[in-house]
Amino acid sequence: MASVEDAAEPDRRLPKSTRKRLVETGRHALLLVWSFVVLFPLYWIISMSLKPPSEAIALPPDWIFLPTVYNYIQLLQEGSFVDAFLNSVFMISASVVLVLVIGVPAAYVLSRYDIPRQRDVLVWILSSRMLPPVAVIIPFFVIFRALNLYDTRIGMIFMYVTINISVVVWVMKAFFDGIPETLEEAARVDGATQFQAFRKVILPAAKPGIFSVAIISFIFAWIELLFSLVLTNSRAVTVTMEVYQFIGVRQIEWGMLAAATTATIVPVVVFVIAVNKYLAAGLSFGVVIKE
């Protein structure tokens, strides 16, 4: 159809190469606009965190300024922020290890064995993510207080496991499905037990998947606020909770607020840039396992 049109009115259209260049320019224009929308807030908060207090909120903004680490020194002296930061790193790392230990073997079984009503089991696992955390937190708040788990790292580590278990099982099942069964059959013929075949042959082959879910689980836990808001008080406070408290109390100390915010963002940004190829598999619950 379109080619007939082309032939009928040839001169009303621009030459093909010009048209192509126009399309390409338009494409880049749109993409650069969105790049600006994405990057400007990040630039803004980072630059603000590096400005001396006198310039932090100056308008018109000082586009050129001498960067200073003054705000970060203040933040370090605060102490509680550093504690919360390290606390988050520790609790989340522990929870990622735990959720992998619980989720990866189960995903393997779901992929390799005939489980009755396997599809329903998978949906049931996914339904653990459908429950809104705020509805889940009320029972856990009551139980945690009864079991002395309130404001403990153990309690928080468990809560982080709950938000990530469904991602781990779904993504890893998709990865195991993609690994040919002949691989472990060969290992079994060589005399390996089922477990040895899993550990020595299948796990190494599933490494990209494990890497992918580990990253996603870490990010999902890192950005979580509600658990710390409800279940911690002082000992197990997270970095997001610390930033939240800054909003209320330190409204006026903009530079320090910017520094705290930047400190939560930059490590994850660097992390995401480094591992960007592995994100799609984890985020799509294993539907796209390679880019």
Binding site: R27, V38, I45, G103, S128, V169, L226, V272, A281
Partner: protein, 311 residues
């Protein structure tokens, strides 16, 4: 070393007997911890919310805790706590954000897929996923700084470069602002999945439709989108689930206000349970919210997933 699966070993030592049990029942060992955890986080909260919704549970009034309360908690929830209004706001928020994020994520993925320069492609791909690294509470502080009517750069730009009066986005159009903040934060999620899904559409098919001279929209409608159906479905489903979970961004950007204009159900439950310390009424809202979401998602999974895209 003898192989522990041989029956001869079973008589030798306790350790190899253990090893034998381990290997023989491997699928059960592998499944049990996961099943226990998922049971604990699905059945238990639902059942306990149900119980709490039917009893008195005010932390300020410890003597009455646990007394049967009939449907009084639901009366509080839909009366003084105005839960119905929160449900309405949540639906607008979820629908608005979902539509915008899906559309924007798709368009961006399509545009980036067509970029010919490899280096620019990598730049866009990486830049566009960065907002996901920003925790909602951190985005809220950025929003509070950039949108602040006195010190914010955005109102400043509007004042300086346009004839308009700078709006206070957080108080004039709070729900829209919250939606747009979520779009900034989570469009990357859609983008990254769609982008990966698009790269898996066979190049030959796309090329064939290009040679046919089919217009652009038809290439998408008849070749690319049908191929991406499972990807589209899962991305939208997961995003839908996560949008209902939204708490941190709205809570720290507007705390549900001004008034109750951005009071999502999740914020209402939190306020009811932990500010007004009425866990019974909070559980009453929570149980309705929970059942609603699980029902909606399961209908989607069964009707659209199982009977459509996954078969």
């Amino acid at each position: 070393m003898s192989t522990p699966t041989e029956t001869a070993v079973s008589s030798s030592s306790g350790f190899s007997r253990l090893q034998e049990l381990w290997n023989e029942y491997l699928p059960y060992w592998f499944m049990t911890p996961m099943v226990l955890v998922v049971l604990l986080i699905t059945i238990f909260p639902g059942a306990y919310d149900m119980y709490l919704a039917l009893v008195k549970y005010k932390l300020t009034d410890p003597t009455t805790i646990g007394q049967f309360n009939g449907l009084a908690n639901f009366e509080t929830a839909f009366g003084s706590r105005n839960a119905l209004n929160s449900f309405r706001i949540t639906i607008v928020f979820v629908a608005g954000a979902l539509v915008l994020e899906t559309a924007l994520g798709f368009v961006l993925a399509a545009l980036v897929t067509g970029v010919s320069s490899k280096r620019m492609k990598t730049f866009y791909r990486v830049a566009f996923i960065l907002p996901m690294a920003v925790a909602p509470v951190s985005l809220a502080t950025i929003g509070r700084i950039m949108l602040n009517p006195e010190i914010g750069v955005i109102p400043y730009m509007v004042r300086t470069f346009t004839p308009f009066v700078a709006p206070n986005l957080l108080s004039d159009v709070p729900l829209l602002t919250v939606i747009l903040a979520d779009v900034w934060n989570w469009t990357p999620f859609m983008f990254i999945i769609f982008y990966a899904g698009m790269s898996s559409v066979p190049e030959t098919l796309v090329e064939a439709s290009r040679v046919d001279g089919a217009p652009l929209w038809r290439r998408y409608a008849h070749v690319i989108i049908p191929h991406m159906k499972p990807v589209l479905f899962v991305a939208i489903l997961i995003r839908l689930i996560d949008l209902f979970r939204t708490f941190g961004l709205t809570f720290s950007l507007t705390s549900g206000g001004p008034g109750s204009q951005t009071e999502l159900v999740s914020i209402n439950i939190f306020e009811t349970g932990f500010t007004f310390v009425d866990l019974g009424a909070a559980a009453a809202i929570a149980i309705i919210y929970l059942i609603g979401i699980v029902a909606l998602c399961n209908i989607l999974i069964i009707k659209v997933g199982f009977e459509g895209v996954w078969d």
